[in-house]
C-alpha cells in the first residue's frame, strides 16, 4: 500500500516537475526580447556571452561583486547540493557509473556543507534587517524544506541507516515499471515526502530562478547593437504592414 502510494506520487511529481518546467522554459524562450538590454560592459561576441553566463552560473560572479557573505553561503549551498544530487545517481543506476563512484566520498560530506549553507542563509533572513524586510513566509518555508531534506538525508547516512539495498530496488523498480516494496522507515519516508513536495512546487515557485537565469536578457545578450540589427517583432510587423500598403 505504502509502496504503491509513493510510487504513484513519484510518477506524478516527475510529471509535474518536467511538464511544469518545459512549459515555463517554452514561455521564456517564446516571449520576445524586443530591445538590446545587456548590462554593460558586456561581451561583444556570442562566445563571450557563453563565458559570462558560465561564470555567472558556476561562480555566481554578480553575487560575489555584491556581498561576500551571501555569496559564500549561497555558493557553498548550491555546489554542495549539486554534489549531493549527483551522488544520489547511484540509487538510480545499475551498475553505478564510474564518475558517480568517484565523487561519492565528496558527496557524502557535501550534505553537511549544504545544511550549513542553508542555515547561514536562513540566519540572514532573521539577522539582517534588510533581508528580514523582504522575506515572505514562502522564502522561509523553502529554506526549511531544503534543510529538512538535507537533515533527514544526513540522519540516514550517519545515524539511523535505512535498508539502502531495498530502497535501490524500489527506485530501479520505478524506472523499470516493475514496482518493488519501499522500506517503511520513518526517516526515509520523511526524506522522500519532502523531495516530493520540492518537485511539486518547483515549477510554481521562485525555484524557477534555475532555468530563468539563462533567459535573462541583461546577461545573455551580446553587446553588438550597432553592428547587427536586433529585430523587434512589433517593429518588423509595422514595417511589413507599411510595405504592404505601399508606404515607406
Amino acid at each position: 500500500m505504502l509502496s504503491t502510494i509513493f510510487a504513484i506520487l513519484f510518477y506524478l511529481a516527475t510529471a509535474v516537475f518536467v511538464v511544469g518546467l518545459v512549459y515555463r522554459i517554452r514561455l521564456y524562450a517564446r516571449t520576445p526580447a524586443p530591445l538590446k538590454i545587456p548590462t554593460t560592459p558586456a561581451p561583444v561576441t556570442r562566445q563571450g556571452v557563453v563565458f559570462r553566463m558560465f561564470r555567472e552560473v558556476a561562480f555566481f560572479e554578480s553575487l560575489f561583486k555584491s556581498n561576500k557573505w551571501t555569496w559564500l553561503f549561497g555558493w557553498v549551498f548550491h555546489v554542495a547540493m549539486l554534489l549531493v544530487v549527483l551522488r544520489h545517481l547511484r540509487y538510480f543506476t545499475e551498475p553505478v557509473w564510474l564518475w558517480v563512484n568517484l565523487i561519492q566520498p565528496f558527496g557524502k560530506y557535501a550534505g553537511f556543507a549544504m545544511l550549513a549553507g542553508l542555515l547561514a542563509l536562513w540566519g540572514r533572513r532573521f539577522l539582517v534587517e534588510r533581508i528580514r524586510y523582504i522575506s515572505s513566509p514562502s522564502d522561509h518555508l523553502m529554506l526549511i524544506l531544503l534543510m529538512g531534506i538535507a537533515a533527514s538525508g544526513l540522519m540516514m547516512k550517519y545515524v539511523v541507516h535505512t535498508d539502502i539495498v531495498a530502497l535501490k530496488a524500489f527506485t530501479l523498480g520505478l524506472i523499470r515499471f516493475n514496482w518493488q516494496p519501499l522500506p517503511a522507515d520513518p526517516v526515509l519516508l520523511v526524506h522522500l515526502s519532502l523531495v516530493l513536495i520540492l518537485m511539486f512546487v518547483f515549477p510554481v515557485s521562485k525555484l524557477l530562478h534555475a532555468p530563468g537565469v539563462f533567459f535573462s536578457p541583461s546577461r545573455n545578450q551580446v553587446d553588438n547593437a550597432r553592428e547587427i540589427r536586433h529585430p523587434a517583432p512589433w517593429v518588423t510587423e509595422l514595417e511589413s504592414n507599411a510595405t504592404k500598403t505601399g508606404g515607406e
Binding site: 530591445l35 548590462t39 555567472e56 561583486k65 555584491s66 523582504i134 521562485k206 537565469v213 541583461s218
Partner: protein, 511 residues
C-alpha cells in the same frame, strides 16, 4: 540659503537603518489630461483602472521576456538591497530594488501565478488596490532606471525594466507623470524637450558663433539644417542654452572645426534625449528615433554623432537600430551612431588636435560615469570603452585627473540622483537625497586629493549636479562638461595668443 541646508555625510558605505514610509509621500505631479491625450493615453484615471492595469501587465508580460523572467526569478537573496542610491540616501525600505520590484511582483503573483492565486499570503501576493497604485506612483518615480542593482543581481534582474513597465501601465490607465509626458509632447510638436523653435535655435547658435569668435578670433560655425553636411549632430537641447552644457557644445563645434568636417544640427531632431524610455513606451521611443532618421535622410548626411547625454546614448547605441534602422543609407565606414567622445578621441589618437593641457591647469578633475553610458551602452570597440575613452580624453586635455573611489565609478557608478525622468522640481527631496552617495565620493576626493571640478557627459547629470551640489557644500560651478575641457585646451588654427609646440602634439599622439 545653501549654507544652512548643507548636508553632512559620514562614511561612504554606511547602510542606513530602515525607515519605513520615509518617502511614501514623495510623488511627482500627475500629467494633465492634455499632456496625456497628446501621447494617446487616457486623460485621467479611468473608472475600470484596476482591470485595465492587470490587462496591460498581462500584455507587457507577453511582449517582454525581461519582465516575465524578472517577475519569476527573484529569490530575495538581498544582493541588491544596499545598492540603490535612493535607498542609501533615504533609508526607505521600498527604495531597496527588490522591494521596489515587489510592488509590481506582488500584483503579478496575485493575478498571474498559481501560488499567488491560491496562496497569496504565503508568497506575498496582493490585490491591486488604490493604496498599491499610490505606492506605485510614488516609488516607481523614485527609480532613476540607472541599472546599478542589475550589476549585482545574480540573475541580472534590472529594476529599470520593471519601473518602465509600471510607468507604462500607469500611463495606460490615465495616471502619467507630468514632467515626462509634457516634455514628450513638446518633442512631437517642436522637435526638442525645451520647445525651442527653429528660428530661436538658429539665432542662439549665431550668438554662440559670435561668442566663440570674440573669444578665440576664429570663426567657428554651428550650422543648423545645413543640407549636404557630412555629419548630423544630435545633442540634448540643454546643450543649446544651459550651463555648463553649452560650453560642451562649444567644445564639439571646435573639434568639428579642427577636424575639418562639415556638420549640422537639425531643428526637426534637435533633441537627443528620449524621455519615452523613462516612461517605458517603445512606441513613443520609436516616434522620437524616427525623427532622427528622417532628419538624417532629409539633410542627406553620411554620419550621425550624438552629443553628451546619458540615456540618449543608451537609446541611440542600443535601441535606435532596432526601432528606426537599418541605417544603410549612411556611410558604412563609421558606426551608427557615434558618440562625440569616440569622434574626439579618434582625432586625439591620430594627433589631429593641437591641445594645450595647461589651459586646464587651474582645475583638478574627476569624472562621473553617467549610469546609462556606463551600464547601458558602450564606446569604442572593446567592452568598457565607455569608461576608458572619456578618461583618456580628459587626461589628454588636462594635467590633473583623479578618479573617485573604485566602488563608485565604472560599472559601480552611482546615479546623479536626477535620471530616469526625475529631473523636476516637484521631486527635489528625493533628488537631493539620492545624490548623497555620489556627493560623498566626490567630497572624499575633494578633501583628500584636492579635486576642484567634476566632469560629466550627460545633460541630466550636469543639471542635477548644478542644482544639488550647493546643498552638499560644493559650488554649482564645479560641474563641467567633458567637451568644455576639450574646448579650453584645443588650439584652433589661427587662434590668437596661443602657441603649442609640436612636441606636445606628438606626445599626445603616442600617448
Amino acid at each position: 540659503m545653501a549654507d544652512q541646508d548643507t548636508i553632512q555625510i559620514n562614511t561612504l558605505f554606511e547602510i542606513p537603518t530602515l525607515n519605513p514610509g520615509a518617502m511614501k509621500d514623495s510623488s511627482p505631479f500627475v500629467a494633465a489630461p492634455a499632456h496625456q491625450e497628446a501621447l494617446g493615453f487616457p486623460g485621467e484615471l479611468v473608472d475600470d483602472w484596476q482591470t485595465r492595469a492587470i490587462e496591460k501587465l498581462g500584455e507587457l508580460l507577453k511582449k517582454s521576456r525581461a519582465l516575465q523572467v524578472y517577475m519569476d526569478g527573484c529569490v530575495k537573496c538581498g544582493a541588491c538591497t544596499d545598492k540603490c542610491h535612493y535607498f542609501l540616501g533615504t533609508g526607505d525600505p521600498k527604495n531597496m530594488p527588490v522591494a521596489r520590484q515587489d510592488l509590481l511582483r506582488k500584483i503579478y503573483r496575485r493575478y498571474f501565478t498559481f501560488s499567488g492565486k491560491y496562496f497569496p499570503k504565503l508568497v506575498g501576493a496582493e490585490d491591486l488596490t488604490r493604496e498599491v497604485l499610490d505606492e506605485w506612483y510614488s516609488y516607481f518615480h523614485q527609480c532613476s532606471q540607472c541599472r546599478r542593482c542589475s550589476v549585482y543581481c545574480p540573475y541580472g534582474i534590472d529594476t529599470a525594466e520593471i519601473s518602465m513597465a509600471a510607468r507604462e501601465i500607469m500611463d495606460h490607465i490615465g495616471k502619467g507623470q507630468k514632467y515626462c509626458n509634457e516634455i514628450l509632447g513638446k518633442v512631437h510638436q517642436i522637435g526638442n524637450n525645451l520647445g525651442l523653435p527653429e528660428k530661436a535655435l538658429i539665432m542662439t547658435m549665431e550668438d554662440l558663433e559670435e561668442d566663440i569668435e570674440d573669444d578665440t578670433g576664429v570663426k567657428v560655425r554651428i550650422p543648423v539644417n545645413e543640407k549636404g553636411a557630412d555629419i548630423l549632430l544630435v545633442t540634448p537641447s540643454a546643450d543649446f542654452f544651459a550651463e555648463p552644457h553649452i560650453d560642451g557644445l562649444i567644445g564639439y563645434a571646435k573639434v568639428f572645426h579642427q577636424a575639418g568636417v562639415s556638420w549640422t544640427v537639425s531643428s526637426y531632431a534637435s533633441e537627443a534625449a528620449n524621455f519615452a524610455m523613462f516612461i517605458g513606451s517603445q512606441e513613443q521611443m520609436k516616434l522620437l528615433t524616427d525623427r532622427i532618421r528622417k532628419a538624417a535622410e532629409d539633410l542627406g548626411v553620411k554620419r550621425i554623432i550624438f552629443g553628451e547625454c546619458g540615456h540618449a546614448w543608451r537609446v541611440a547605441y542600443n535601441f535606435m537600430n532596432t526601432l528606426s534602422g537599418p541605417f544603410d543609407f549612411l556611410d558604412p565606414d563609421y558606426p551608427v551612431p557615434q558618440h562625440i567622445c569616440e569622434f574626439t578621441w579618434d582625432l586625439i589618437e591620430r594627433g589631429k588636435l593641437k591641445l594645450d593641457k595647461s589651459a586646464n591647469d587651474h582645475m583638478t578633475l574627476t569624472f562621473h560615469d553617467s549610469c546609462n553610458v556606463a551600464r547601458g551602452s558602450r564606446m569604442g570597440d572593446k567592452p568598457g570603452g565607455q569608461f576608458e575613452i572619456p578618461r583618456a580624453i580628459i587626461k589628454a586635455v588636462c594635467n590633473n585627473f583623479v578618479d573617485m573611489a573604485a566602488d563608485t565609478i565604472h560599472e559601480a557608478t552611482f546615479c546623479c540622483g536626477g535620471g530616469g525622468g526625475l529631473l523636476t522640481d516637484d521631486l527635489m527631496e528625493i533628488r537631493t537625497k539620492g545624490a548623497s552617495p555620489r556627493m560623498t565620493a566626490l567630497q572624499e576626493v575633494v578633501e583628500e586629493q584636492g579635486v576642484t571640478h567634476m566632469a560629466a557627459i550627460c545633460a541630466i547629470c550636469k543639471t542635477q549636479f548644478a542644482k544639488v551640489m550647493p546643498t552638499y557644500g560644493i559650488g554649482m560651478d564645479r560641474i563641467v562638461s567633458l567637451h568644455q575641457l576639450v574646448s579650453n585646451a584645443i588650439v584652433l588654427d589661427g587662434q590668437e595668443g596661443s602657441e603649442v609646440d609640436e612636441e606636445t602634439t606628438e606626445e599626445l599622439a603616442t600617448a
